[in-house]
């Protein structure tokens, strides 16, 4: 084989000195050693307490109805839709990492795809909760949302973006779950073979479907893994496009904009990468996984965050531009009201969080400093939540007729539900870390130097 001349030095994706065995042991030990760091218990306890609060908020909601929230007419979409869009956007980074970066042959996705996919699934669960409870009577939502032959012979309205949303989100959840599970099968077999306890062996053995690493199986596996990536790529782009249709199909000033689909998709990836960084930086530290989630991974994620942040900034600028250029007095008033109306602090905080803060990422020192990155990511998380707040609330609260203007103030129950879903997310994520390998073991093995085939470029 001809050794290819190195054009520029690339830092390794995995620290030197690792073998198939050491990779396997290190990642599976988090699950199988039975010991968890104290911070795991602390965070899980906080998560569980917040889940309790979520349960309380939902119970009271079901007893009293959505009147306990701050929503009113004209602001019929309050926190529930803000949080729905925020959560579902966070999920998008997981699919981007697992599917799009796979198709683009980005080797660095390997050590972060597993927990990013888990993040997607849990974020979509939190997202899905909001529209469901926003219906007020979720037990009736079945015939409002899904086409099934019910005793009243009525059917959902397929021309409505809200029904598109149901199909987009439920497909997204199902496909993300399938993708995640397929990726887990070989690792579940590893856990089955490494587990000492008989019950664990049986449990992981069942979940792994009896996977034995046969070449015939791997061939079909690799084939469909690629196909799933190919299917997930347009899917993830469609999901936030459809979410943006919930707004853009309406005629409300500030919503009725053709920029919405690309701007929402970029915002979703932006928010999602910020969340992946928020999770990855503490995790690699707590579990000592700096060998696998290297500085290069963090830096690459920072670059994606910066890029999508710039697209989002372009979205804000074009919104303002169209408010003026359209010469439509309602659009013009909407953008002016956003910047100077009663919700102005939200708008300018959002500009600070989403446009100004990520500019730090131009500096390599910041991109390669876990603490700096973590701080930028946290600010972006807040900023993207504010963005959804501004889009939903400021567009609705003052639209066409000044006589039907209003104000929106979230209540205690709104906050309890929102913070409760944060707890649900944390709880699910920390249980996942405890029960399943948070880094794909079999894909990491392919990154080991021993995996390189003579005459090939490795695998």
């Amino acid at each position: 084989m001809d050794p290819k001349p190195a054009t520029y030095p690339t830092p390794p994706l995995i620290e030197p000195g690792h073998t198939f065995g050491s990779i396997t042991d290190k990642i599976s030990a988090v699950v199988l050693s039975g010991r968890q760091p104290i911070s795991w218990f602390v965070v899980l306890s906080i998560g569980l307490m917040l889940v309790g609060m979520l349960g309380m908020a939902i119970t009271w909601l079901l007893i009293k109805g959505t009147g306990i929230w701050g929503i009113n007419i004209p602001i019929g979409w309050g926190f529930a839709i803000v949080n729905f869009v925020w959560w579902i956007g966070i999920g998008h980074a997981g699919t981007l990492i697992s599917a799009i970066l796979l198709l683009l042959k980005q080797g660095w996705r390997t050590s972060i795809n597993r927990f990013a996919e888990a993040m997607t699934i849990f974020a979509v669960m939190c997202a899905g909760l909001f529209p469901l409870i926003h219906t007020g009577r979720p037990w009736l939502a079945a015939y409002w949302l899904f086409p099934y032959p019910n005793s009243m012979s009525i059917w959902p309205q397929f021309r409505s973006p809200l029904i598109w949303d149901v199909f987009a989100v439920s497909t997204y959840f199902t496909v993300s779950l399938l993708f995640w599970y397929v990726g887990l099968i070989p690792d579940l077999a590893t856990l089955r073979d490494k587990a000492k306890h008989r019950g664990l062996k049986v449990a992981y053995g069942m979940l792994s479907l009896g996977w034995r690493g046969s070449a015939r199986h791997w061939q079909r596996y690799e084939h469909i893994y690629l196909l799933l990536a190919g299917l997930s790529t347009p899917l993830v782009l469609s999901v936030h496009t459809v979410v943006s249709f919930d707004f853009a199909i309406g005629i409300v000033p500030g919503w009725h904009a053709t920029i919405f689909p690309p701007y929402f998709v970029a915002g979703a990836i932006y928010a999602g990468f910020a969340m992946v960084l928020t999770l990855a930086i503490p995790l690699r530290r707590i579990y000592g996984l700096e060998d696998f989630i290297t500085m290069r991974h963090l830096e690459n994620m920072a670059k994606v965050t910066l890029l999508t942040g710039l697209i989002v900034a372009y979205g804000y600028i074009s919104e303002a531009f169209f408010g003026w250029y359209s010469a439509n007095k309602y659009e013009g008033f909407m953008i002016l009201n956003r910047m100077t109306g009663p919700y102005w602090p939200y708008y300018w905080t959002l500009v600070f969080c989403n446009i100004i803060t990520p500019q730090w990422l131009w500096i390599k020192r910041v991109r390669t400093s876990p603490l700096g990155l973590f701080m930028v990511a946290m600010v972006v998380n807040v900023g993207m939540w504010l963005e959804r707040f501004v889009i939903v609330i400021t567009s609705l609260h003052r639209d066409f007729l000044p006589s039907s203007w209003g104000m929106y103030y979230p209540t205690m129950w709104d906050w309890m539900t929102f913070v409760g879903t944060l707890g649900l997310f944390i709880t699910l994520f920390f249980l996942f870390i405890r029960a399943l390998p948070m880094i794909s073991i079999f894909e990491m093995r392919t990154m080991a130097p021993e995996a390189r085939m003579p005459g090939g470029e490795g695998h």
């Binding site: 059917w155 397929f158 590893t190 073979d193 034995r212 070449a215 799933l228 093995r445």
Partner: protein, 180 residues
């Protein structure tokens, strides 16, 4: 290892590196053995090429799933809005196809993805909690750091003694008989 007279499922040779496994699989295939399989802790494209396996059926299954999902999604919308429950909105056509595209698209992806995963599991014969190779104690390394080549006893060229000697000459670190 001991050679007994009880029937065997096959012979399992163990290798330390993927390159050794692929070289051995190629030699074994060239020797005329066809009932071959390799086991590795990660996918090795060269390994399935070496044993002459390439199953292209998955593409077809996923394509069919996608077509069925897409037609099914559009068909459902058409049936609901043009036949079962027609609602005239502002005189617009009942078959308002542009508005039916998002659900058609999502259903295409959903059924294609489901058929990909179910198809892979079914064609691979999973779930299969028991398989004779699991009887070899060393086999637990197949999900960790070792590479295995299996020659099944149903292969016409299989001869317990000769195949064993052949495999031993292939740089195998160990060769084991697999109980059925």
């Amino acid at each position: 290892m001991s050679v007994t007279t009880s029937p065997v499922y096959g012979l399992l040779a163990e290798f330390d590196t993927p390159a050794a496994l692929v070289a051995a699989a190629r030699r074994t295939h060239a020797e005329g053995y066809r009932k071959l399989d390799t086991f590795s802790p990660f996918p090795i494209e060269e390994a399935w090429e070496a044993i002459g396996h390439h199953d292209r059926r998955m593409s077809f299954i996923v394509l069919m799933g996608g077509i069925i999902g897409g037609l099914g999604g559009y068909g459902l919308e058409y049936w609901v809005h043009a036949m079962a429950y027609p609602i005239n909105v502002a005189g617009k056509p009942l078959n308002s196809w542009p508005q039916f595209i998002p659900v058609t698209f999502e259903m295409t992806i959903l059924i294609a993805a489901l058929s990909a995963v179910i198809g892979m599991i079914v064609l691979n014969g999973l779930p299969m909690p028991y398989h004779p190779v699991f009887n070899v104690p060393r086999f637990e390394h197949a999900s960790r750091d070792k590479f295995f080549l299996l020659v099944e006893s149903t292969d016409p060229k299989f001869d317990r003694q000769r195949t064993l000697e052949f495999l031993k000459r292939l740089d195998a670190s160990e060769v084991n008989e697999v109980e059925p």
